[in-house]
Amino acid sequence: MADEPTREWSDEQLKSDDLPKKDLIKFIQDNGAHSFLNEHKLLGNIKSVAKTAKKEQLIIAYNQLFEGKRFKGSEPVEEVTEQVRVVKIEEKPKEAEVVDEGPPKYFKSVLKKGDKSNFPKKGDNVSCWYTGSLEDGTVFDTNIPLTARKKKQSKPLTFKAGLGRVIRGWDEAILTMSKGETARVEIEPEWAYGRKGLPDSKIPPNAKLIFEVELVAVD
């Protein structure tokens, strides 16, 4: 424990104009406990304290410091808190807080097994036939034409997987599928079109979407 500080100035010297406020403030800040400084509004940048505090107040505080012996170190927990508080934050925090989102918001059941060896990686081009419906059974989208002949003339949907180009439920599910697999994927609205839905389409707000997806190609 440090020795108790001693008075530096006499009453007369304190009142004199020769003693600048900031010297007084510095002394009190160097020697006073954090809670003491807080009570007397003597925390922070010396210049700013000097602007807001009158000389009379400082003299009073100075005297009270000694009378109450509210020196630094007399409240150890406070000191550590004070030091931590005073540390300047130099850089902007780079990482956003990693929020634990909880369990995946989709559910996949395999209808037809794939080759179990060709799994798409992030950035791979994948091609799918799919049908999408709402919980009530309404089909809102499909790229499978009605006749087999027309299917020969159509193309499957192709996109790069895992890059956020499609709704999250699709991105996540497709990475778990292998070539040739057909699966039923139920996607909660948070990983589909959320609270807004798709305006001017068949997908209403907060809609759970059900897709039947066949992964035909991976490259």
Partner: protein
Amino acid sequence: MSLEQLSDVVQRCQDLSDDSYTTEDHDVFSISGRTCIEEGNSAQVLSIVLDEKNQDIVRCMGWNLLPPLIQVLLKKQNEKLSPCLAIFKHLLQTCRPKELLIGLLEQLEQDDPDTIAESLHLLLNPLQKVLLCLGSRKASSLGMTLSSVLDQVAKLPLPHTKEQEEDDVFSLCRCCTDLTDFVKPFVHEARRHLLNREAQIENTKKMAGEQGRHEEDELRTELLKFAMKTLSHPLLELQLKDQDTLAVSPLRNFATEILNTLSAIGESVPSLVFQPLLKRKQVPGFLEEEVRYPKESLASLAHLVFVHHLAADTFPSVFSSVFSLRCNMEHICLLLSRTEESRIQKGLELYEKSLVRLEDGSLSADLLEIKTFLTVPQNLVKVMTMCPRHDLRTRGLKVLQLSIDKFDTEAKYNFFQYMLNTSHHSGVEGYVVKNIKIQIDSALQPGNSNTWFEGSQLLPLLRKVLSLPDGPETDLLQYLDRVMESLNLLRYLVIRDKVTENQTGIWTELYKIEDTFLKPLRVGVNMSRAHYERELHDTMQTKRGKVKEESVLSVSVGNEKLPNMTSESQIQALHSALHTFDMIESVLVRIEELTEVKENL
């Protein structure tokens, strides 16, 4: 006279084989034939043309009669009509396609809108028949035809209101419908080729013959060029009416057909719309990417898909809303960087539609690293401050606010910094400062705390806001919006944030703000006030003395010099300025009062 000449030359040539017709024969036939038709002797010409003995002659020379015939048909005078129509039909069946094509194309070019519309209506069908006769070499001729047709369509006035579309006074709607019918067989042909080729690849794993493929590709390319061109004009200029406004809209149908055409020739609409972000493999062919897919046409396509929902049934509902926004930003950037009001309006509509799909606060700050996310707001500022149309300026502001709402707090913070640095416009800066205040207010609500609009992070932003661009010499009237909003923000902070809490850091910053902002502002206000009071005094003196002032400069609008400001107006303006300074001062004083009170607690 001409009739005799015509009969003579025809008689003479009957006995010759067609490769021994002389140039003179051709000329006499042409000139006399034309004259006959123009003089109204078309019935006689018809009988000559229909005569079996003359078919070789007609085949070789008949096409020269097209110009006068078409002129007559366009004039629509009933007496002459019927034989001319018959001659026309016969020529179309008899003459050589290549020559017919030249004759018909020539007649497409007209000057006044009425005649243009009529000639298109008359000639598109014949042109189609002729082109279909050209067999596998039709592609380049088709291209030429489509190009000419679109050039003519470009001369037609566009309907803007629902009523104008219904009335179709200048026949644009009819032309578009005719045009759709015109291209149909070619689109079908291109589609057949595509499917055949794919089937072949499937079955034999061999490529189709090089030559055949080349020509098929040419056909697809010409149709692609056509579709892309229509997307720019007329589609980008037109305001399509939706189903509720106009149940049957030929223009909307036309647009839908263009989208269908693209799909039919193998150009996937999603791929086109998302093209800015997709790295496409260079397709070997005639045209390079930028020429093949002009940016403006793609922007028009995106607008048709996202704003008008055309061909919505075939557009996949699986793409994420953020991805759609990222792609559309490129289109929006292009549209908003133009000065034509039609482009700007569509840019705003597309931006709005893309943003509305997103939840508030869902866009993260890393999106601001994408160039378009910075250039689009700059373009918006230009629209809001310089576009002549009031409704577009207002809409621009609305869309700007919408875009701000979609950013999360870190992105908002960065965006506000960016806008304060780059917009160079007092009104815009004032608006941004107002938004900052809203964000701070939100952060101070219990449970809403965030690191960006409170505490140490907020300070750099506050410092930027609470500053004067030119110190005490800042032109307060020019920067009024910015200055007032900054003062309002300061007053708000001083009231809302308790000295003991200092959540925003304002209390420890205050002494600095006094030096960099409040003190120079007080000086500026005083200086400006003194200046304007002097001006007012002088003006009133002048007015009393009735001395005519020679003004230093004059303003002319459209060759008319605007009258000088009257003394009354000048005095009014000066009073208004002085009132403004009073307003600024009152807020300054209030802030002073509040800070003194709080500091003395």
